[in-house]
């Protein structure tokens, strides 16, 4: 909840063991790390905007586990959360991001020219390509914590910036509040519309408060570049198109992001970013690049192969259903994307997707012909 944290001071009247959450049945990153001693150490702290330890962990306390993935179990309420609650968040970040250390530096690389290939993924298998990331506006609290006034300010700034875009990026903003039925129908058909979160992971963190106030969708006229305002992050930026031309999708992604960032800078705003954590977002799982580059790809034979999971793991890729993170696949079509976010650059991660998907499509073709793929299984990346 936003501001005024007299409530946390009141809580300090109670002993640690009385306040410490019962995490015995929990299985998320937060529960693995938050000992009673750590709770005792951090419970009297708060960020300058008043975000507290209990605010950070509430979603993890309320959601002991997830059927498909090991959830993080905590969120940031503002940029400073990552500093004030380092003792909790650093080990979680390390666990979630393959051993990333508090002293490590993260590389940002949004030069699309550095991507090799990616324009030749077979469209008979790769149905669509997409790259998304998130951006937070420095100086404003994040979705778990922001007040209506702050959220509205984020919307205002974002829409101002987006409306200056031109050329291939010229587009329009559709606020969720006051959307006409026709607009809504069109956005659903385009697969652009996001709805009020239903996942208890998000609801438990307070991200859906005041819905649909200051939420909206902006997209370019070509329907290939899309920005979500005030959903799980301040901004989610998405470049997508049908088919397998990931190279083009990534180019548009990088160019668009850069233009948006420039416009913000002109208005004396910038994105939350630092050398250690890269781009700062609400969920610790999205730190670094915040990038998920992926395809919807037909892999009916490969996906039933005994080594499918192993192959994905070695390629540093993950699978999801075509409905997104909380779904299972339908008809042998999978959403395949990079597993990493922090510790490698945007170019590195998209390269892994491009190379990995190319390999898997070749494997699928081999399996179609009844041939074995054992010789093709890659080494661990």
């Amino acid at each position: 909840m936003p501001f005024g944290n007299t409530h946390n001071n009141f809580k300090l009247n109670f002993k640690v063991e009385e306040e410490y959450p019962d995490l015995t049945k929990h299985n998320n990153h937060m529960a693995k790390v938050l000992t009673k001693d750590m709770y005792a150490k951090l419970r009297d702290k708060q960020t300058p905007s008043g975000f507290t330890l209990d605010d950070v962990i509430q979603t993890g306390v309320d959601n002991p586990g997830h059927p498909f993935i090991m959830t993080v179990g905590c969120v940031a309420g503002d940029e400073e959360s990552y500093e004030v609650f380092k003792d909790l968040l650093d080990p979680i970040i390390s666990d979630r991001h393959s051993g990333y250390k508090p002293t490590d530096k993260h590389k940002t690389d949004l030069n699309f020219e550095n991507l090799k290939g990616g324009d030749d993924l077979d469209p008979n298998y790769v149905l669509s390509s997409r790259v998304r990331t998130g951006r937070s506006i420095k100086g404003y609290a994040l979705p778990p914590h922001n007040s209506r006034g702050e959220r509205r300010a984020v919307e205002r700034l974002s829409v101002e910036a987006l409306n200056t875009l031109d050329g291939e990026f010229k587009g329009k903003y559709y606020p969720l509040k006051g959307m006409t039925d026709a607009e809504q129908e069109q956005l659903i058909n385009d697969h652009f519309l996001f709805d009020k979160p239903v996942s208890p992971l998000l609801l438990g963190a307070g991200m859906a408060r005041d819905w649909p106030d200051s939420r909206g969708i902006w997209h370019n006229d070509g329907k290939s570049f899309l920005v979500w305002v005030n959903e799980e992050d301040h901004l989610r930026v998405i470049s997508m198109e049908k088919g397998g031309n990931m190279k083009e999708v990534f180019r548009r992604f990088c160019v668009g992001l850069r233009k948006i960032e420039e416009t913000f800078k002109k208005h004396n705003h910038c994105f939350m970013w630092n050398e250690h954590l890269g781009y700062v977002l609400t969920c610790p799982s999205n730190l670094g690049t915040g990038l998920r580059g992926g395809v919807h790809v037909k892999l009916p034979k490969l996906s039933t192969h005994a080594k499918f999971e192993e192959i994905l793991g070695r390629l540093r890729l993950q699978k999801r259903g075509t409905g997104g993170v909380d779904t299972a696949s339908v008809g042998g079509v999978f959403d395949i994307s990079n597993a990493d976010r922090l510790g490698s650059s945007e170019v590195d991660q998209v390269q892994m997707v491009v190379d990995g998907v190319k390999l898997m499509v070749e494997m699928e073709k081999k399996l179609e012909k009844g041939e074995a793929i054992d010789g093709m299984i890659p080494a661990q990346k």
Binding site: M1, P2, F3, G4, N5, T6, H7, N8, N9, F10, K11, N13, F14, K15, E18, E19, Y20, P21, D22, S49, G50, D54, Q58, V61, D62, S147, R148, G149, E150, R152, A153, K177, L203, A208, R209, D210, W211, D213
Partner: protein
């Protein structure tokens, strides 16, 4: 009761006692006079109230009807001594613009002091919800003397079951929207401790939601006793489901006629029920049980939240006063199809619900019929209203069975 709650409690007791003493007027001076009950530390704000005021244009709940920008601006910088704020109190109403069957309240209290600190909003909301009851000028009668109830035995051919429920809050501890884990656990400890002292036909057992075995859970489901984590967004948006199932549980007596929910929507919900139409016995047990539980907690130095102006203090303003819902599951196949049914219920000050509770529709012709009112009349008066009303409905049903005509009763007068 020498524990670390003692210090907090002593200041809270003063709060409670002063609320009894105060009699109000509409001005800000009203709050200033009640020194011990004014705001805690000023709430830090970055934006002016006008930038924070919620967009309530598409909303239809009591909070939205009364929260003007002026009242918002006045109250938004205040917090209760525990730090509960206006924005927290109204969050559920902002997030839930309306309900298909009923006009919802749209706000909650985080603690006893909320009703004082946010009186400028809560008083008009209470007035609208409770049929004109004015907390500024009126007092609420409490009467748990069940011997006063007349003719409380219904015809079992129509009434399938009878039930009376209310809620009680433990003074000195925050309410479910705001309570910390420690406070919630203390509520559980205090209440379970007291319930262990019940004897005779009230003796029973506590089942903690965290430690329940599968068999216990199945039995409680079969008995229709088990409550689950709230799914209604009205409740989840106000923060009542935090830390589930920590410190939540169900207690019931061995004969399964007296049941207490701990830390669901209120600190406690107290339920007396049985199959059939003996509302008198249900109400007897209800009053005896409640008084006994009160005696047991008082032995340990605790008390229920109550004051003269608002009666028993509960989380939702709709449950103030008696917090009492007395009802029956009754079969009314002919009457329920009569176009006058709704008007008859209205005039009897009764409401109908489906047999699944507040958010359900009726199945077949069996309805949950209960009192509409909570505040401004006593427990005895409200249960009498239900008794008289249900008897009237059964009488109508019988008349219709015989092909006779029925009359709409005159509007209820207290």
């Amino acid at each position: 009761m020498a524990n670390n709650f003692a210090r907090i409690l002593s200041s809270k007791r003063n709060v409670g006692i002063l609320s009894l003493v105060g009699a109000g007027s509409l001005t800000a001076a009203f709050l200033l006079n009640r020194e011990h009950v004014t705001a805690g530390a000023q709430v830090r704000r970055v934006y002016p109230a006008s930038a924070e005021y919620p967009d309530l244009r598409k909303h239809n709940n009591c909070m939205a009807s009364h929260l003007t920008p002026a009242i918002y601006a006045k109250l938004v910088e205040k917090a209760t001594p525990n730090g509960y704020t206006l924005d927290q109190a109204i969050q559920t109403g902002v997030d839930n613009p309306g309900h298909p069957f009923i006009k919802t309240v749209g706000m909650v209290a985080g603690d006893e002091e909320s009703y004082e600190v946010f009186a400028d909003l809560l008083d008009p909301v209470i007035k609208e919800r409770h049929n004109g009851y004015d907390p500024q000028t009126m007092t609420h009668p409490t009467d748990l003397d069940s011997s006063k109830l007349k003719s409380g035995k219904f015809d079992d051919r129509y009434v399938l079951s009878s039930r009376v429920r209310t809620g009680r809050s433990i003074r000195g501890l925050s309410l479910p929207p705001a309570c910390t884990r420690a406070e919630r656990r203390e509520v559980e400890r205090v209440v379970v401790d007291a319930l262990a002292g019940l004897k005779g036909d009230l003796a029973g057992t506590y089942y903690s939601l965290t430690h329940m075995t599968d068999q216990e859970q199945q039995q409680l489901i079969d008995d229709h006793f088990l409550f689950d984590k709230p799914v209604s967004p009205l409740l989840t948006c106000s923060g009542m489901a935090r830390d589930w199932p920590d410190a939540r549980g169900i207690w019931h007596n061995n004969t399964k006629t007296f049941l207490i929910w701990i830390n669901e929507e209120d600190h406690t919900r107290v339920i007396s029920m049985e199959k059939g139409g003996n509302m008198k016995r249900v109400f007897d047990r209800f009053c005896t049980g409640l008084k006994e539980v009160e005696r047991l907690i008082q032995e340990k130095g605790w008390e229920f939240m109550w004051n003269e102006r608002l009666g028993y203090i509960l989380t939702c303003p709709s449950n103030l006063g008696t917090g009492l819902r007395a009802g029956v599951h009754v079969n009314l196949p002919k009457l329920s199809k009569d176009p006058r049914f709704t008007k008859i219920l209205d005039n009897l000050r009764l409401q109908k619900r489906g047999t699944g509770g507040v958010d359900t529709a009726a199945v077949g012709s069996t309805f949950d019929i209960s009192n509409l009112d909570r505040l401004g009349q006593s427990e005895v008066q409200l249960v009498q209203t239900v008794v008289d009303g249900v008897n009237y409905l059964i009488d109508c049903e019988k008349k219709l069975e015989k092909g006779q005509d029925i009359k709409i009763p005159p509007p209820f007068k207290k």
